[in-house]
């Protein structure tokens, strides 16, 4: 077995995994805030809609959601299945799914801020937007960091689900090598890569948490 070639291909796969990871965070972190704000909206329709979406996204397998996003347009609109859309479907599926989880984390964080903070801001004359971005958000970020770290670590591992849409990410590569040569080594190597990836992610998040420890 050519280990050099295997490692090279695994790293190529890893670059897909990293790409899925980054794009998903890029879209789902802000999208989650939007969903959280809808979920806490005074408008019942918007609130119930957000609630329903979160419930479905959290209550069904991500793998199934990925299939729906990819094959849905083909069955409904007869849209041709291209490789560009294959990758796009993965990003859409992951982003929407993770946004639902982040939305609930944000909501819990926002609701944990004492009412007195809003009242003090109001008396001092801050506008609602100023209050939200200057006073509420920084405190929410600190509170939600541990659960967000959890989700981010899960996401690293979840990127392997992209294999269901035959994206050549690291897990798919490892599986192919493994079944073609009946050996566990590629899978173990992939496992090591996932672990290192997550180790770095956790370290980064911990640093950020420490940085925010300047206040309680």
């Amino acid at each position: 077995m050519n280990y050099g070639r295997m490692l090279l291909q695994l790293l190529e796969g890893l670059s897909y995994s990293i790409s899925i990871f980054c794009w998903t965070l890029f879209f789902s972190l802000p999208l989650g805030l939007l969903v959280a704000l809808c979920r806490m909206s005074k408008f019942t329709v918007l609130k119930q809609l957000a609630r329903f979406c979160i419930s479905v996204l959290r209550g069904t397998p991500l793998m199934l959601q990925l299939f729906l996003v990819f094959y849905g347009p083909y069955y409904i609109f007869k849209m041709p299945l291209t490789d560009t859309y294959r990758f796009l479907a993965v990003i859409i599926g992951f982003s929407v799914n993770y946004a639902a989880y982040f939305a609930e984390i944000y909501r819990a964080g926002i609701e944990a801020i004492p009412l007195g903070q809003y009242e003090a801001a109001q008396v001092l004359g801050y506008s609602r937007t100023q209050t939200f971005f200057k006073i509420i958000v920084p405190q929410v970020v600190k509170r939600i960091l541990p659960p967000v770290t959890n989700e981010v670590i899960t996401l690293v591992k979840d990127t392997s689900l992209a294999f269901t849409l035959t994206i050549p990410e690291m897990f798919s590569v490892a599986r192919q090598w493994s079944s073609a040569r009946t050996t566990m080594i590629p899978l173990i190597a992939a496992g090591v890569f996932y672990y290192v990836f997550n180790f770095l992610v956790a370290m980064l998040m911990e640093r950020f948490e420490k940085y925010l420890n300047y206040y309680r």
Binding site: P114, G116, Q117, E119, A120, Q122, V123, L124, G125, Y126, S127, Q130, K134, I135, P138, Q139, K142, Y214, Y215, R216
Partner: protein, 262 residues
């Protein structure tokens, strides 16, 4: 005692103020004037509506009917029974600069230093000159005995120190009137003294103040006038010594007796 200038519009003017939550009436037909330099304490059992009255005055709560004015600025008025008309948001924004509020739980912003807590609103809301605000804040911190605490974060301070910061924050825009909502209730007994001293010093400088408190002796010492509230109405009011030492109403006597026996 302060000489009242009755020709000038009162700093705070409340007329026939009522407030209900759903079907529960918590304030019934309250009328009250506070004049320049006057210190008014509001005492009464919990649920008497004294905190709600303070919250209506500071626009944290909207009244159901009645009139509220700060000096010449009308905040809210009633044309007819059970109606109200609040001033424009622009007026309300300006009126918020006329008063300060000190909360029971301080409500400092924990992610900001002491200095930032005091100076941020004047700079980013009232758009005052930054250097001038910092200068004022340093003087205020000095006055509060916290000159060396500007760079500290609220969690590094004792409850009494945090409350003094929040008083400085309430004073930074030179309000015409300062409201206190049970300023010592969240403090350990040995820390209440330092807050009462600060309020006493402010009284000596003729700061106009309305203080909701459970500290009866303090109310008697510091106030020009004491108001006793129960069940949403003003039961009795008058010079501090009269109301607390020689109450005329049975309800007031019962309350004061209960407070003494604690």
């Amino acid at each position: 005692m302060t000489q009242l200038n009755l020709n000038k519009a009162p700093v705070l003017h409340i007329e026939h103020l009522s407030k209900s939550f759903d079907n529960l009436t918590v304030l019934k037909d309250i009328s009250l004037d506070v004049h320049q330099g006057e210190v008014v304490s509001i005492i009464g059992p919990s649920g008497s509506g004294k905190s709600t009255l303070l919250r209506c005055c500071t626009l944290l709560e909207t009244m159901t009917s009645g009139m509220l004015a700060f000096g010449d600025t009308i905040v809210c008025q009633s044309a007819a029974r059970d109606t109200k008309q609040y001033a424009s948001p622009e007026t309300l924004r300006l009126v918020r600069q006329k008063f300060g509020l000190v909360f029971q739980n301080f409500n400092l912003f924990p992610h900001w230093s002491v200095m930032k807590n005091i100076i941020d609103a004047p700079i980013s809301v009232q758009k005052r000159d930054k250097n001038e605000v910092i200068h004022d804040a340093e003087l205020l911190l000095q006055k509060m005995g916290l000159a060396d605490r500007g760079d500290y974060y609220p969690f590094q301070l004792s409850g009494g120190q945090q409350q003094r910061v929040s008083i400085a924050r309430a004073l930074i825009n030179n309000p015409e009137i300062l409201f206190f909502d049970e300023p010592t209730s969240a403090l350990d007994p040995e820390l209440t003294g330092e807050i009462l001293k600060v309020i006493r010093d402010l009284a000596a400088e003729h700061m106009t103040m309305v203080i909701v408190t459970h500290e009866i002796e303090f109310a008697r010492n510091v106030s020009d006038r004491v108001i006793f509230m129960a069940e949403g109405v003003i039961v009795e009011q008058g010079p501090a010594n009269d109301v607390i030492l020689h109450p005329t109403q049975e309800r007031t006597r019962t309350f004061l007796a209960n407070m003494r026996n604690k």
